[in-house]
Amino acid sequence: MTERATMIRLRINGVEDEVGASTLAELLKHQGIDLQARFLAVAINGAVIRRADWLAHPLSPGDEVEIVRPLQGG
């Protein structure tokens, strides 16, 4: 029997959203991001969360999440 995660309100890349995710890894999967994808970085409330911690890192209501990657730049 699977238990549905509670919906929590987060700010993801500047946009408010309600997601049913309790960990960072669940959130990334929910956003369609391959957890094995390289060249990605995530910060929650201004602190970088290392890839090794994605699976276990819990989310709290009101968390501000930044998901970034490298792009063209001078």
Partner: protein, 256 residues
Amino acid sequence: MTDPLTIAGTTLASRLFVGTAGYPNQQMLLDCLETSGTELVTVSIRRISLEGYAESLVDLLEGRYRLLPNTAGCVTARDAILTAELAREALQTDWVKLELIGDRETLYPDVEQLVHAADQLVRSGFTVLPYCNEDPVACQKLADVGCAAVMPLGSLIGSGGGIANPAAIELVCSRSPVPVVLDAGIGTASDAALAMELGCDAVLVNTAIAKSHDPQRMAAAMRAGVEAGRLARLAGRIPKRRFAEPSSPQLGLVST
């Protein structure tokens, strides 16, 4: 390798660094980087598009070029530091081009915040290359807090204005205890050559290549310009004189 450049213990054979923004298409970017002979390219760090995660530019560059992430667009030390930390995590490099903008119209750096952020980042183990103004005092402060190089602007970012204040750049170069990379405002090959003749150790070019009429040809021109300027610098130019000095011998002139 003759005349290599060393920054933070890393040796580079090319003194031309190239930015990756604004090219007509991705293939042109790759061709330009190849033609330029560069070994170091800059990238930005931005939020992913949440419509889906596509293959990145970095997949094509990684392993072929040293990647230097920038903190372009940041206006606070806090944002620049977070961006640098995210860049380190995403790219697994300690190197960062630190940009802290004080004025959105001119994109001039906020020197006070820049020095503060550079200090913090150096303490956190980053190799910091700060985009800065052409002020020898600011450059000295950045070197004092441990920056690996200084990157004074030639003129406004993207303006193609060349080197607006050659005397200031020359002064920065003559006093800097760390390598000097002329960054911003280069418009054409002669600007890059001049930067090297003034004593710069390298130049960083983006818009001048990307938005020229023939970017690949301009990449070749920049490569030649940097090499020419560097050779001229090492060769030691003649001084400028106020009066003429004939080059042909003065004796034996016909009809004297």
